[in-house]
Assembly symmetry: C2
Homo-oligomer: 351 residues x 2
């Protein structure tokens, strides 16, 4: 359904300057996206780094030490022969019963005039500062509300995977608003305007004893305190989104309702993109949904990378009724694809 | 540390009238507690019921059907020989990949003049009405704020274990405020007054990929939308609270700080009660904590029941500096125990 840009990948990790000399950038992906008033497309990327020069027989994680009051990064290096070391997948390992990420992520800005050729900032925009983000900041989503930008991001620490919020008016100064969703919860997309007088967002809690990782909705008066949680939709058995699903790009208001791009994974962790149309006044009500993925990992840069067979979006922009979806490919690089809004809406199956 | 009442158990399931003729009451436990202005001690109990006359070779669950717009209870009966049936423990079974509770709980009022002899209402106070509580309402905690009572409770549905809120001024009319914490989250205790101008509560999210079930804090302006989540304390390795811990009774303001009764389980799911003292102005800061349990399951009614070796509190009252903790014993009945506040506070170890 979505047409890939010929320029793909748009941003590769090799283009991104590491934040420290002893680090290398391994992934530049999962970008929030917004079109600024001057027409610039601004992407806020998740940039994942790892320590350089780690011997083949070692695993390493960057961890943050807050004992001196502010974050100081330290490298934890573990020999793979260590009986306390347990590999999980390229993204994780466990050591002495604690899970660690193999990379540390921060948020970095890239800008483009045409939405296809990007210039990446030389340094981070938002990086580890608080204990709740000691293992990194991931997957930002940008919502513009009355001239101010509200950015949700995944904050990872030893205590869990949460969603936190920062706001900015200029993408230079960022104001932290703390953790808005307790663990485990990510994929939070705030709608760009109030619905029925209140702010609303999608979020994706991961239940434990009962239930599946599904999309929920919550309401707020101030974007910081969220309540009125209700379940919106879950995975569909035996389909491409039978495993976990979650919000992708910030929902887009259309004549027919709220259009949301979401991701769905199957049990083999193949991540595709789908779309869903929600009622304009009751955004918890699903009107239509894509039966087939609107984008599935097929190109080389989508099937092979840091974690293969993944397309995952955190942002999209609309201009002249053309929807451009930016997405992370194989958890490694950033790509883009587009479709006419009307064509996408026509394609959704009424529920 | 706590002295059990000689009258224990105070309330047993046999004393409680079933809500339907075809049900039997199996548990009457985990009571929120409050002292009313006229001196009455009011307990709001979790009453668990199951269908009568289920053959030995069958498992049964009561489920709620909302297709007609309002809740209609139905009994799901499964033959234990069914290859799709999987027993878990006395509280749960799985059928066709979905978990079910073996009982359905509602909230029921009991009243006492002396805090030891209780009269139980003939019918439920709050019972299944919303899809998010289709598998029942559990473990209420009552907070009185300026003459109104705010009751958090565990709402269980196929989508997960959440915390919802109702409020009342008279314990006759209850106003639902919806789900305030998305799954998996329970053991929510709202502090009885604002701290630094905002409402505050303890909650207990259960992380998935990383982290342990621990006590967190959140802030609110209206008791419905919650944010500013921060981790407060977790289990202690190799101790009685090495497994999951969570809030118990609503925190009590003392000269030395906020006193909270909490529960902790070890890896064998033996549940004990502990106490923690938190800073009056910064309730995320732990000042002191009990090294040993203040109550451990030892009495017969605590070690044997629906789920043995459990003491679990949802409420306590204070009068004349005497703290009375009401608690569920062996997930079956309600008991009480008391201690002088000063004695309990002296017993806590500074952290």
């Amino acid at each position: 359904m979505l047409q890939r840009f010929a320029e793909n990948p748009l941003i590769e990790p090799e283009q991104v300057t590491p934040s420290r000399e002893d680090f290398e950038v391994v992934c530049a992906f999962n970008t929030g996206a917004v079109r600024l008033d001057d027409g610039t497309v601004l992407l806020l990327m998740r940039v994942a780094e790892r320590p350089r020069a780690v011997p083949q027989d070692c695993a390493a994680a960057v961890v943050s030490d807050f004992t001196a009051g502010q974050a100081r990064l330290k490298v934890l290096r573990v020999h793979k022969d260590d009986p306390d070391y347990k590999p999980i997948d390229p993204r994780w390992f466990a050591y002495r019963g604690q899970r660690y990420l193999t990379s540390l992520s921060h948020l970095r800005i890239a800008r483009s005039r045409d939405g296809r050729h990007f210039e990446v900032d030389p340094g981070p925009a938002v990086s580890v500062e608080q204990p709740y983000e000691e293992f990194g900041l991931e997957d930002p989503r940008i919502t513009r509300i009355e001239g101010r930008y509200w950015i949700t991001y995944t904050a990872v620490s030893r205590h869990g995977i949460c969603t936190a919020l920062v706001s900015t008016s200029d993408f230079c100064n960022f104001e932290r608003k703390g953790v808005i969703f307790a663990p485990e919860n990510r994929d939070v997309t705030i709608f760009p305007e109030k619905v029925g007088g209140r702010y609303v967002c999608h979020h994706r809690p991961v239940p434990h004893a009962i239930g599946e990782a599904s999309m929920w909705l919550a309401w707020s008066d101030d974007l910081v305190g969220w309540g009125g949680h209700c379940w919106v939709m879950g995975g569909r058995p035996e389909q491409w989104d039978s495993g976990r699903i979650g919000g992708g790009a910030v929902p887009i208001k259309t004549d027919r309702g709220w259009l949301a791009i979401y991701h769905g994974a199957d049990r083999q962790l193949r991540y595709c993109l789908g779309a869903v149309l929600l009622d304009r006044e009751e955004p918890g009500r699903v009107l239509a949904r894509s039966t087939e993925p609107i984008l599935a990992p097929e190109a080389d840069y989508e099937t092979q990378g840091f974690f293969g067979n993944v397309v995952f979006s955190c942002g999209a922009v609309v201009q002249d009724e053309l929807l451009t979806v930016y997405y992370g490919a194989a958890d490694r690089c950033t790509a883009g694809a587009s479709v006419r809004l009307a064509e996408l809406l026509d394609h959704l199956e009424p529920v």
